[in-house]
């Protein structure tokens, strides 16, 4: 009997171990595959003219694989989305966690969850039909298919992440801090801006970084509303092409083993590296906050 239990224990232990290790193995395999396929692009183009090239004509003869406009496009759209989503998200989180009456709080929380459940292709569709014509007429632009349209769509997508994680961080601030501050005669606003925010800051930063990660990797909605013109952007009111949209739009055409195919994988590496840096920064900020 005891033996059977030992065997059971052993099997379960190993199963859990494998599950734990699996994610590491998957990440490693994905990265190795990406690297192996993507690195071949260097046979056709130097690293400098790949990252720094200004023209993306992947199917021409000879092809031009310059992804600078795509990198800048992705960064611009992300920056725009974050500039909108972070302040709004943090303010909403404070309201939900600390200010709103209980009934309203529950309603708001479910609404945020519903927002996160909207598929990105649906948001993109709404963007094409409503947002793009609106931007064009409201701002008198040559076309509404701009980086700004992409940023607004992505801000919607980042909001749920930012709100729910920030809210958890605010709720995790010990009650004594708040009570202490109020006992000392601080107003609610002073308590929020001078006490609670300090306790919750690492969590809020982590939330924002996760939001950025979400936005940076998003594809569908961006592809539908940004116009996808591979030019170096000079402002938010211009069409841009992002790294993700390029992969999604062109992978169907690229024959396996062609320079174009390798170039798309190399874009995948660039995306991977940038996302990795974002996560690393988030981690770093989070730990610095904890150690203080």
């Amino acid at each position: 009997m005891a033996n059977l239990r030992k065997v059971k224990e052993f099997i379960i232990e190993k199963l859990i171990f494998t599950s734990g290790i699996a994610s590491i193995v998957f990440v490693a395999l994905i990265f190795i595959f990406l690297l192996a396929e993507g690195i071949s692009v260097l046979r056709y183009v130097s690293l400098g003219s790949f990252i720094g090239g200004q023209f993306w004509y992947p199917i021409s003869d000879p092809p031009k694989f310059g992804i600078l406009p795509l990198i800048l496009g992705s960064l611009l759209v992300t920056a725009g989305a974050i500039a909108m989503a972070v302040p709004l998200g943090i303010a909403a989180a404070f309201y939900i966690a600390d200010v709103a009456p209980v009934k309203l709080r529950n309603l708001l929380k479910s609404c945020v969850e519903i927002l996160s459940a909207i598929p990105s292709v649906v948001l993109g569709f709404l963007g094409i039909v409503i947002l793009v014509p609106f931007l064009k007429h409201f701002l008198h632009l040559p076309t509404g298919l701009t980086a700004l349209a992409g940023s607004i769509m992505l801000a919607f997508m980042a909001l749920p992440t930012i709100i729910s994680i920030s809210e958890d961080a605010i709720n995790a601030v010990p009650r004594e801090y708040k009570e202490g501050a109020i006992a000392l005669g601080a107003t609610h606003w002073q308590t929020l801006t001078r006490v609670i925010i300090h306790g919750a800051l690492p969590g809020i930063i982590a939330a924002s970084m996760l939001g950025i990660g979400r936005v940076f990797g998003e594809t569908m909605a961006v592809m539908m509303v940004t116009g996808n013109a591979a030019v170096i952007p000079t402002g938010l009111l211009q069409p841009v092409r992002t790294l993700t949209a390029t992969i999604a739009a062109e992978m169907g055409e690229a024959a396996k083993g062609s320079p174009h195919y390798f170039a798309l994988f190399a874009i995948g590496i660039v995306l991977f590296v940038i996302s990795f840096l974002i996560n690393l920064t988030a981690d770093f900020l989070l730990h610095r906050g904890k150690n203080r």
Binding site: I59, A249, E253
Partner: protein
């Protein structure tokens, strides 16, 4: 709630039963399925062909999907489809890839298509020469004023690079028919994911100019009459003008198969060439070859 579940279950069972009976019954005949993949321009045409063909040969299931000419040809090379619909001829590198897999493409020209340049209905510009179109899409003419329109910037709408329409327009208009030319679309051209997206933007944006296949013409966009050169007359894209080659931007549409078509695939290709098949070509707004 309960009613819904019952309904859903009933639906599932019906579907399942339908799927099974299709494959197995039919008096012992074996069901044959043909996968057709490729050009977005031809996807409607292919679907109507498939439906009508299926009425004559109920034991043959034909699945038609789009994705772009390049996607279809790549699928044929990789063996994941039986027929590739393409709005351009296969390229040398594709022929080499096919040879590496041990087969030769069999090419069938099954219809003709006109590429139409369109603008917003309010745009006063209605005639353009091939050279003007070329300068517009290369980004050298940037304002409608130059072409006799209002003082407004030109917004270029193009298809993505996986589209046969994109490649045809580039080679035929931008490069004047020279495949190996150096001319490119202006980097500022908006790359739209589908012909539908181009139609939608051209209908809503008075600055826009775009291009798509004959089949997408609707009153919501204005069609441009095109002249081969400054001395030739401006010709509107119509069935007749494409057939007699007076409209300058037209192209053949192809079906590609792995070697000479045989069995069910041959029957389908024969059907496409039949009177019925070519009538479908006319009905779906393309130009029949016969």
């Amino acid at each position: 709630m309960k009613k819904r579940i019952v309904l859903a279950a009933a639906l599932l069972i019906t579907l399942f039963w339908g799927a099974c009976s299709r494959r197995e019954s039919r008096a012992g005949q074996k069901a044959v399925s043909i996968q057709i993949k490729g050009s977005d321009t031809m996807v409607n045409l292919g679907q109507v062909w498939a439906e009508e063909f299926n009425k004559i040969h109920p034991n043959m299931n034909i699945a038609v999907t789009g994705g772009g000419s390049g996607t279809g040809i790549a699928a044929l090379i990789n063996g994941t489809c039986d027929i590739a619909e393409s709005s351009r001829a296969v390229e040398e590198k594709e022929i080499t890839q096919a040879e590496a897999k041990g087969f030769k493409f069999n090419e069938e020209i099954v219809a003709l298509d006109g590429i139409v340049a369109v603008v917003h209905p309010s745009n006063p510009v209605k005639n353009l020469t091939m050279d003007q179109l070329r300068e517009i899409f290369m980004g050298n003419i940037r304002n409608w004023k130059v072409l006799g329109g209002p003082d407004m910037p030109i917004v270029l709408l193009s298809r993505e690079v996986n589209s046969g329409t994109h490649i045809f327009f580039k080679e035929h208009v931008l490069r004047r028919g020279k495949k190996k030319g150096r001319e490119e679309f202006s980097p500022g051209a908006l790359m739209m994911p589908s012909s539908y997206a181009i139609a939608e933007e051209a209908a809503n944006n008075e600055n826009a100019v775009g291009y798509y296949g004959l089949g997408y013409i609707s009153p919501r966009q204005k069609v441009i009459a095109v002249a081969k050169d400054p001395k030739s007359p401006f010709v509107e894209p119509r069935l007749a003008s494409i057939r007699d080659n007076s409209y300058p931007i037209s192209r053949p549409l192809y079906l590609y198969t792995n070697g000479k078509p045989q069995g069910a695939i041959k029957e389908f290709v024969d059907f496409v060439y039949s009177k019925e098949g070519q009538d479908i070509v006319t009905k779906t707004d393309f130009v029949p070859i016969k």
